[in-house]
Amino acid sequence: MATERLEIVCPAGTPAALRTAVDAGADSVYCGFNDETNARNFPGLNFSRAEMAVGIAYAAARGVKVLVAINTFPRAGSEALWHRAVDDALACGAHAVILADIGLLAYAAERHPDRRLHLSVQAAASNADAINFYAETFGIRRVVLPRVLTVEEIAAINREIDVETEVFIFGGLCVMAEGRCSLSSYATGRSPNMHGVCSPASHVAYAEEGEDLVARLGGFTIHRVPKAVAAPYPTLCKGCFQTGDYRGHIFEDPVSLDAATLMPQLARAGVRALKIEGRQRSRAYVEQVVRAFRRASEAEAAGQPIPKSELWRLTEGQQTTAGAYRKTWR
């Protein structure tokens, strides 16, 4: 059996980043509209309707697919905004829409029965029964697996389901079950599920206090980092806190995911596509990461060793982990 090369799914926060990803060797690119319908609703980021249409055309002309993330949970009384996003993305020629909300999946499955629906990581479908529920009920064609599973668990899931699986391979790392976390709205009133932001910049304050860089979120101190130590995002779950005599990163160190070395195992586990996190990152990041993973994917398909990369420079904390893919993480 000829092995199919692992699909590299690349982030794009801007039209320029989309072109960069396509030119650097992306197999598909995911992006979102410039409003609260997507989970990277950051200032200055994302696509207008016109930009989306142009971006999809640019990608299509080069054989690259565009996946549109509409992966927040529609607000009661305002669902029309999300319905329009689904309709417009598919009208623009998106290869698929990436959805998380049950109500929105029901809408898309009914209105666009012949189009591809991908289940967002925000739906946190973490076992075969949950995935089969979504497949049977809404006809999803692919699931983005939550970052809580080991490689062995992913292999077991793939034996029990018929839809494609996509897993995160590089970038920011959620340590909580995605789509089920209200830490950000507790501290700031703005949440990934409702507003498409986590630990939003609008509520972040950096201050240099003596030798320390202090980061506060909604008034809560998340970090105090001495000079010359890599600075993290003030993301709640990677904050430094205290409990009893313990002082440190209670939830997770400020590290990023890099599972490049696990690509052969992931391929054997039946994974179809590898997702790179980072729609909020720059063209420079997209260029370097996409090129490295395209190379790695080609090497993997040819049965060659995965080339070593220097991507740690780009990562939060400038340290990487294989995360939940190895059981010791738990």
């Binding site: 949970f73 009661a76 909300d101 076992n127 949950a130 529920f133 809580v148 089920r180 101190t221 105090r224």
Partner: protein, 298 residues
């Protein structure tokens, strides 16, 4: 308006667990009690043999008993346990992970238990509510992070659908779940050899910022608010909006008094039901930020 006691989220000693439900059965003026383990599947075997007795006692006292599911189902034994909940027909099941929708509402009533949707399932809008109503869910406890405007919209939509709408009205608010156990991590253990260190903190392990500000509470794989949600002064507003039930989440101390205070508020008895609330150890400041404030912690 009904009063529901949510599942006990924390890990208590087995006798404390039994005593809690015995007192709840005999003394607490509540309508529904959700019982079982929703946080960590490792804890369940420690008190599994006490559940039957507790359920019988609660039912003898006229309470409706609902069996909870686990909130994050990944392991094979967790999936088997989830499927097992739908192999019985004696009790309604509360779904706290969509995994269970694989079986819910599939058979006729004689072969399938009734079910409701718990607060850890994302019900943010009318379409999602309609989906669960069409599948046969009896009620939905809304996610605690929803603002009042959303609660009001959903309660209005629920009425014609014939599905109940419950809100999280008392207790530390569940904020996040993980595959990783933070109690074990803080105590330098792995999840597999945790030795149930979470039993040291009957209301969660308080997490403070580096500047000494109280912030969160850790309960094994779960993270909760430090503040205690308390909507006792909002009962009238919620009822008017069409909310049909309030959820009280168990804590140590005199929880029966919490139930009584909320019952007084619902029944409109006494001038100040909030004054009936007991003090807490450790002290937990009250908050209504998620529903009525700018931030959850407010």
């Amino acid at each position: 308006m009904e009063l529901t006691v949510g599942p006990l989220l924390f890990h208590w000693a087995t006798d404390a667990w039994s005593d809690f439900y015995a007192r709840l059965a005999d003394e607490a003026p509540v309508d529904r009690v959700v019982i079982g383990e929703s946080v960590c599947s490792k804890r369940l075997p420690l008190y599994a043999d006490r559940i039957t007795e507790a359920v019988e006692r609660l039912e003898r006292a006229g309470k409706t008993v609902v069996l909870t599911s686990l909130a994050l189902v990944t392991l094979p034994r967790e999936r088997r346990a989830a499927a097992g909940l739908f192999a019985q027909t004696g009790h309604e099941v509360e779904i706290d992970d969509l995994t269970l929708m694989r079986w819910a509402g599939k058979g006729d009533d004689a072969h399938c238990p009734g079910f409701s949707i718990g607060p850890l399932v994302n019900v943010y809008n009318e379409s999602t509510l309609r989906f669960f109503a069409a599948r046969g869910a009896r009620s939905v406890c809304l996610p605690p992070e929803l603002p009042f405007a959303s609660v009001a919209s959903l309660a209005a939509a629920a009425q014609p659908l014939g599905i109940g709408v419950e809100v999280f009205a008392f207790g530390r608010v569940p904020l996040a779940l993980s595959a990783r156990c933070y109690h074990a991590r803080v105590h330098g253990r792995t999840k597999d050899s945790c030795q149930f260190v979470c039993d040291r903190d009957p209301d969660g392990m308080v997490v403070r910022t580096l500047d000494g500000q109280d912030f969160l509470a850790v309960n094994g794989v779960q993270t909760l608010s430090y503040n205690c949600c308390n909507l006792i002064d909002d009962v009238g507003t919620l009822r008017q909006a069409g909310v049909t039930a309030l959820r009280l989440s168990p804590h140590s101390g005199d929880f029966v008094s919490v139930c009584r205070a909320f019952r007084s508020a619902i029944d409109g008895q006494g001038d100040d039901p909030a004054a009936l609330l007991p003090g807490h150890i450790p002290a937990m400041p009250y908050s209504r930020g998620f529903m009525f404030g700018a931030t959850g912690a407010e």
